[in-house]
Amino acid sequence: MTVVALHQVRKVYKSGALEFEALKGVSLEIRQGEMVALMGPSGSGKTTLMQIIGLLDRPTEGRYVLAGRDVTTLTENQRAEVRNQEIGFVFQAFHLLPRLNVLENVEVPLTYAGYSPQERRERALEVLQKVGLGDKLKNLPSQLSGGQKQRVAIARALAMRPSILLADEPTGNLDSKTAVEVMRLFQELNDEGTSVIIVTHEPDIAEYTGRIVRIRDGQIESDGPNPHRKRAVGGVA
């Protein structure tokens, strides 16, 4: 089953008379259960691509089908709903809400979906235990290490049981040991069937994925399975 299907997607940024074509017709299919690395140097268009896949931005041209539904022309509210239901974001800078504790942070997407307090709590506990943070529920983000913050963010991304996890440089702010731990978590989730897209410019990180898509100058340069897929080892700290 195809989770993400992009067809001839173009993205043009306009600034006054200047036009910049960030994506020059990208077609990409990602199947359920895949773990894909989206690679490319800065300015290549990989971030734009991620924003379009995450429905944070709209393509100028082309078609986008997410989990069997054409999401190319949705209203602002519908896009918010799809982000809520189908996409789990993980950011480089973690992007936790600083005033909310761990449990409440994970509850945020459940809140927007309209779950009752009990359901929210159950779901949040479930995913927090899954990422190994069941004992840090009342901590504020500022009381956590970088690796722990990223795991809270992953739990938050999982809370709505999305079709796809979309991670933008998830290890960019972590030391290499913690980075491996986070990649191990992604691999475990992927083993259980979660589709994962990891945007990165680090070849080391891409090594942990099963398929590597390289972007350059707004086009897909190469796309193929990763023959040397590494398993991340080491305990989840």
């Binding site: 918010a80 982000r83 809520n84 992007h95 809400l97 927007y112 309209g114």
Partner: protein, 431 residues
């Protein structure tokens, strides 16, 4: 442990979709406000002060209006007052001016009495001063009024015990006195004052009547008045007057009914003018006013004051609202990233709008509630200071409260809609 979570649930529970419940929204707003308590209080200070001022001023204002109305009504019914007019238009509330030079005389009163005998119910000129009133070792200061026996009916001053002095007392310049309830209480304690002696400015008088409790209505309270025959007053208590006719402070005339008031007022004015041989009203050295005029002018003052208070309320709430809008704009900018995160996690523009709108409404309503409490406290202490019982007016409080809600919505809307319109990509990038 390995419960499959993501992507493995084909039948997602979507029946819940419908956004947050109000309590959740309120909690988010409340936490944001508590996140910076000092700033929140300073932000709402404008609303707090505005609402407090309106509540306190309304309560005290209504209290004193009630006082004035009550004392005007206690003066007697269907009353016309002839007083001195020594410059400009007649005095304020239609009350007699004291202190200025007196221009009306006892002869005026006698002339009115004989000319209008068939058209009026009663007439009583008054001359008054503050005197020391003494019984044994007890003494106090009271307003001593020299007048005629009609005073009892004209000014609604029928004694509760004893009787008012009569025509014979007046003719014979007897030293008899009718005393107010407060004086009887203070100087005689539990004893019956009738027949007892009191000393007014050192001169001995016999108490013949005691007025009922008229309530302590602030100024000119009848409870601390002493009425004596005008003739006795002129002989014993008046400052040695200059030559000519004795002057009086006022002449009270009672009309038979309310309908007769306007016409009688006009006739008395003409009569007084004739006696003085003046025709131009600007040269009148007297004023003739009826009680209805006085009540009307009190009401007019009240209305003006209400309008004025409304203006003060409007301006202070406007200023308070601008303060809230200002801080909300700052807050939206500061929390751009938070807005981006929330949008990425599925918040709709409406959710963000509601969040910030509720925050500004909570701020302004909090300010409104604090303002009402502060206003109640202020009304209490100001009332005590001015010896006015503040009138508790739930209507003005509800109004102030609703106004602060409206201010929160109105001034919160622009910042909130700016927050709602923020582009998620841009706001996630915001540092």
């Amino acid at each position: 442990m390995s419960v499959s979570v993501a992507g493995s649930a084909p039948q997602k529970v979507r029946s819940h979709v419908g956004g947050m419940n109000p309590w959740q929204v309120f909690r988010i707003a409340w936490r944001a406000i508590l996140g910076n308590p000092l700033r929140s209080v300073l932000t709402t200070l404008g609303v707090i002060i505005g609402v407090a001022a309106v509540v306190a001023l309304t309560m005290v204002g209504q209290g004193s209006t009630a006082n004035i109305t009550r004392s005007l009504q206690s003066l007697g019914t269907n009353l016309i007052t002839i007083g001195s007019n020594t410059g400009g238009r007649g005095g304020g509330f239609g009350l007699v001016r004291f202190g200025g030079p007196q221009t009306i005389t006892l002869a005026d009163a006698e002339a009115v009495q004989s000319a209008f005998a068939d058209r009026i119910v009663g007439i009583a000129p008054t001359l008054q001063s503050n005197q020391q009133v003494k019984v044994g070792a007890n003494n106090l200061n009271a307003t001593v009024i020299g007048t005629w026996p009609d005073y009892a009916s004209v000014r609604n001053a029928q004694p509760a015990s004893g009787s008012f002095f009569n025509e014979t007392d007046l003719q014979s310049r007897r030293r008899v006195a009718v005393i107010g309830y407060g004086i009887a209480q203070d100087l005689f304690g539990g004893q019956d004052p009738i027949g007892q002696r009191i000393r007014i400015a050192g001169i001995s008088f016999t108490v013949v009547g005691v007025l009922p409790d008229k309530g302590d209505s602030g100024f000119a309270s009848p409870n601390y008045q002493v009425m004596v025959p005008l003739s006795t007053y002129l002989q014993r208590l008046a400052r040695s007057s200059s030559t000519g006719q004795p002057r009086v402070n006022a002449i009270y005339v009672q009309a038979p009914d309310k309908d007769a008031l306007p016409r009688l007022q006009q006739e008395l004015t003409d009569f007084m003018a004739q006696r003085r041989k003046v025709t131009d009203p600007s040269e009148y050295d007297f004023s003739v006013q009826n009680q209805a005029d006085a009540l009307a002018s009190v009401n007019q003052v009240t209305q003006t004051m209400t309008l004025f208070l409304g203006g003060v309320a409007g301006i202070s709430l406007l200023v308070g609202g601008i303060g809230i809008m200002n801080i909300m704009l700052v807050s939206v900018t500061e929390r751009t990233r938070e807005i981006g995160i929330r949008k990425a996690l599925g918040a709709k523009p409406r959710d963000i709008l509601t969040q910030f709108l509720v925050e500004s409404v909570v701020l302004s309503v909090g300010g409104g509630i604090l303002g009402i409490l502060l206003g109640l406290a202020m009304a209490g202490s100001v009332g005590q200071l001015l010896r006015v019982t503040p009138v508790f007016d739930p209507f003005s409080m509800v109004l102030a409260f609703l106004f602060s809600v409206a201010v929160g919505v109105f001034f919160g809307f622009y910042p909130a809609s700016r927050a709602a319109r923020l582009d998620p990509v841009e706001s996630l990038r915001y540092e």
